[in-house]
Amino acid sequence: MDILEITSSAFKAILANKLRSFLTMLGIVIGVMSVILLISMVTGLQTFITAQIQGLGSNLLFVIPGRIGGARSPGGVQANRLIYSDAVNLRSKLAGEADVSAAIQRNATLKFGNKNDKGAAVFGVESNYPKIISIKLTQGRFFNSSEQQSARKVAVIGQSAKTTLFGEGTSLNQIIDVAAIKYKVIGVLEPRGSIFGIDQDNSIYVPFQTAQRQFGIDRLNTIYISANDSDEVKIVQDKATAILKRRLSEDEFTVQSQEQALSTISQITGVLSLALGGIAAISLIVGGIGIMNIMLVSVTERTREIGLRKAVGAKPSDIRNQFLIEAITLSGLGGIIGIVLGFGISLIIGRFFTTTVPWWSVLLSFGFSAIVGIIFGVAPAIRAAKLDPITALRYE
């Protein structure tokens, strides 16, 4: 009896019991769907962040507190020891080779009249920030060096913050509250999009000294360094590291290039997709157990049929193959439905976040579901093949 015959009879058996077949497949459908969905979201996230970081320009270096990517990873949250004088120090030592800009960040509620914008990201940055990060303004201007140094209460707002506070009305020269302190809006940034639902445009940029004073922060979140020459990024990176090492220990800071930042991101998203994919894979195994359960029930229910088939000439291997292929067909069909659903839903989610369905995730989840079908189909199939035809025919 050839494979095509068995497959077609497996399809007949599955169609003869539509509801049960569907419920049996559901575990696999959900498993495959979640594998594809989760991987597509993580991959989309990676694509998005990569584009964002690349958009910053390849001359850029980041100094961040703590150690990333070293042989020794910190055992817990370390105290941040990066301070403004480190940035000042870097700026003077790297003068002529690179531009340096320090940044701190807090979240605060913005207020204009009776409008509230809760949870906006407040960045305290220096006046050279737009040049280093290469962001543009759609309206007004960024604050200048003297405004920064004298801690003026002026602000450049992101698109979402603008829409929330002012709607369609004018925003320039309006006075808003940032955590209950009044600021004058002097500029609006161009939109930058969102990462995984975190709106990058729900933000406000104020002079570094102003933010430092208002929030009482002396630890920096980031020092941005932009090399003047793209060939000298590595040299600047080494110099910056050497300069910082005079005051700080190796574990207290990391100078990362764009390339390194990208590889860090891909490491993080790699672990993330493995973890999430692993969780989804567990549901595939649960689905496989569901298939085994139903196949065992089916063997018992069809004992007489098995006896009859054996009496009219089915070999044990014919019976085994029939049940095995039924299990594989169930899981394979479930896999295909799962792929279609996962693909469809990731397209829908793609309207809000970036999602990408990599081809390997489709192969992986389908292959896994087929393997699940084989593994969990074997036991029932062998049981069916071993049935004694006489007893099977008498089975009530």
């Binding site: 009896m1 009859l308 088939r309 000439g313 070999k315 006489i390």
Partner: protein, 221 residues
């Protein structure tokens, strides 16, 4: 000789308890015979039938089917011989539910490796032989008991076996349908089919050309 039993014994043992189901059976069935084996329940007639049908093996003694000693055949060989040489008819029909009469009849041909198109042809012909050419696509639950048994007969015929082996074929039928089945058997026998039928009813056994009686695992003379 189509079927030849020499000193066939069958002993079932469960633990220390032994049960002699068949003792010293000598039985010969010629080609084109219509033999009825009569016995009450527990007489060993089902065991006899299972051994003739190669579903079971004797404990001792020899069984030759169509000149071939069956003692050393493995499970796959036995399946093949059952498929080619024996057509089974059961008391409870044993049709596949949710499957058309045509597909039920064609089923043994799948295991014979007959291509799909030929299977349909031959199944159709077999159903015509039992007078069911108008019920090809009916499912078992749409057929009467007599009709279901006729589908089962068609299934037994479809491989053109050497022997048709019927186990209480009328046991689940009213007497009118039972008679119809017997008439089909007689017709098939006239056309040259060998039939071995097991029954406990003398009335049914009457339709056969020859009758043997089995009691307590022995054939009565």
């Amino acid at each position: 000789m189509l079927v030849k039993f020499s000193k066939v014994n069958k002993v079932y043992s469960t633990g220390d308890v032994k049960f002699q189901a068949l003792s010293n059976i000598n039985l010969e069935v010629k080609k084109e015979e219509f033999l009825a084996i009569i016995g009450s329940s527990g007489s060993g007639k089902s065991t006899l039938m299972n051994i003739i049908g190669l579903l079971d093996k004797p404990t001792s003694g020899s069984y030759e089917l169509d000149g071939q000693n069956t003692a050393h055949l493995n499970e796959n060989h036995l399946a093949e011989i059952r498929n080619k040489k024996i057509g089974f008819i059961f008391q409870s029909f044993n049709l596949l539910p949710r499957t058309s009469a045509l597909d039920n009849v064609a089923m043994p041909l799948i295991y014979a490796g007959v291509p799909e198109k030929d299977r349909q042809e031959r199944a159709k012909k077999a159903l015509e032989q039992v007078g069911l050419s108008d019920k090809l696509l009916s499912h078992p639950n749409q057929l009467s008991g007599g009709q279901q048994q006729r589908v089962a007969i068609a299934r037994a015929l479809v491989n053109e076996p050497e022997i048709i082996l019927a186990d209480e074929p009328t046991g689940n039928l009213d007497s009118k349908s039972g008679d119809e089945i017997m008439h089909i058997f007689q017709k098939l026998n006239k056309e040259g089919k060998t039939i071995i039928m097991i029954t406990h009813e003398v009335d049914i056994a009457r339709h056969a050309k020859k009758t043997v009686r089995i009691k307590d695992g022995e054939i009565m003379k």
